[in-house]
Amino acid sequence: MAKVKGDIVIDIEKCKGCQVCMPACPNDVIGVSKNVNGKGYNYVETVNEECIGCANCAVVCPDGVITVYRKRIE
């Protein structure tokens, strides 16, 4: 059975830490970082490896800072 594995890359310098992406994620992949970016925002980051590449987070991100990857694994 084919399985998909996803990953996201967050442009942390452009992330404003609004957290709108968090409830959009079906697998609770995203959490708030303890660190802040150059603008002083606590940006979001991945907190587990459960990403399926559904792109929900990127679709709701108001600042368009998330790039989503998905690979089919045979």
């Binding site: 594995k5 404003k16 957290q19 590449g53 108001p62 600042d63 989503v68 990857y69």
Partner: protein, 258 residues
């Protein structure tokens, strides 16, 4: 199998979503969590998918989105408060082969620009109007808007909007749907992935209508203003669901298929 590395996944051929090239690299000036950014992005994605960047002229007047031209990588005109539909009328009539849209907030479209909005809709100008309704004047610091709900607090209705003394919130979208010049009138939101996808389809349909010279398409996007509403972004989205949507229900209001 589970040992697949991030490097294997993060390859260009595996990209399923990335920021459209039609947004500039500038960090948008909107507050964290504001729906403006998402609305900007879906419009730019539609233009990119339709391949009409070189034929599109956007017009954003005064309001939070006054600097939209900093973020949308297309030719843009900055209009006076409320006047974008007048500019768009001329741009489209003088350039019938171009795609023209306005991007207006509620203060702009539903208060100071009411005449321009109604008459552009009534003439059936072959343009797209994107109307961002967050029930407040965000840019100037959270004053009452024409769309502010009854009882809703703002800096100029600090005890809540009193209908008797401050008037009723206006449903511009239902209003313009009654005009024969509008071909497609819809109300959308961009707070969840499903809503964003629907809103994007609506925007796409609006531009396709323009391509077919069908008339004026009007897309309202009910949005949050978490700083104006004084909530966190996710709280604001929930407040929007609980309070804005009952008064401003989502969905198509008018779809003329001919």
């Amino acid at each position: 199998m589970d040992t697949i590395s991030k490097e294997d996944i993060r390859k260009p051929e595996n990209i399923v979503y990335k920021r459209t090239e039609l947004l500039t690299d500038k960090v948008m000036s909107y507050c964290p969590g504001c729906g403006h950014g998402t609305a900007h992005r879906i419009i730019m994605e539609v233009l990119e998918e339709m391949g009409i960047q070189d034929k599109t002229i956007g017009i954003a007047p005064v309001g939070c989105s006054v600097l939209a031209y900093e973020f949308m990588n297309i030719d843009m005109q900055q209009a006076a408060h409320g006047r974008a539909p007048a500019l768009a009328t001329a741009v489209k009539r003088l350039n019938p082969d171009k795609f023209v849209f306005t991007y207006q907030g509620d203060g702009d479209l539903a208060a100071i620009g009411t005449a321009e909005t109604i008459h552009a809709c009534n003439r059936g100008e072959n343009i797209v109007i994107i109307f961002i309704n967050n029930g407040i004047y965000g840019m100037t610091g959270g004053q009452m808007a024409p769309t502010t709900l009854e009882g809703m607090k703002s800096s100029t209705s600090p005890y809540g909007r009193d209908i008797k003394s401050m008037g009723n919130p206006i449903k511009m979208t239902e209003l313009v749907a009654q005009l024969p010049g509008t071909i497609y009138v819809t109300r959308q939101a961009v707070h969840t992935p499903a809503n964003v996808r629907k809103a994007k389809k609506a925007v796409r349909k609006a531009f396709e209508n323009q391509k077919l010279n069908k008339g004026l398409s009007f897309v309202e996007i009910v949005s949050n203003c978490n700083s104006g509403w004084k909530m966190t972004p996710n709280q604001a989205n929930q407040w929007m669901v609980d309070n804005m949507f009952p008064f401003y229900p989502l969905g198509d209001i008018k779809v003329n298929e001919d």
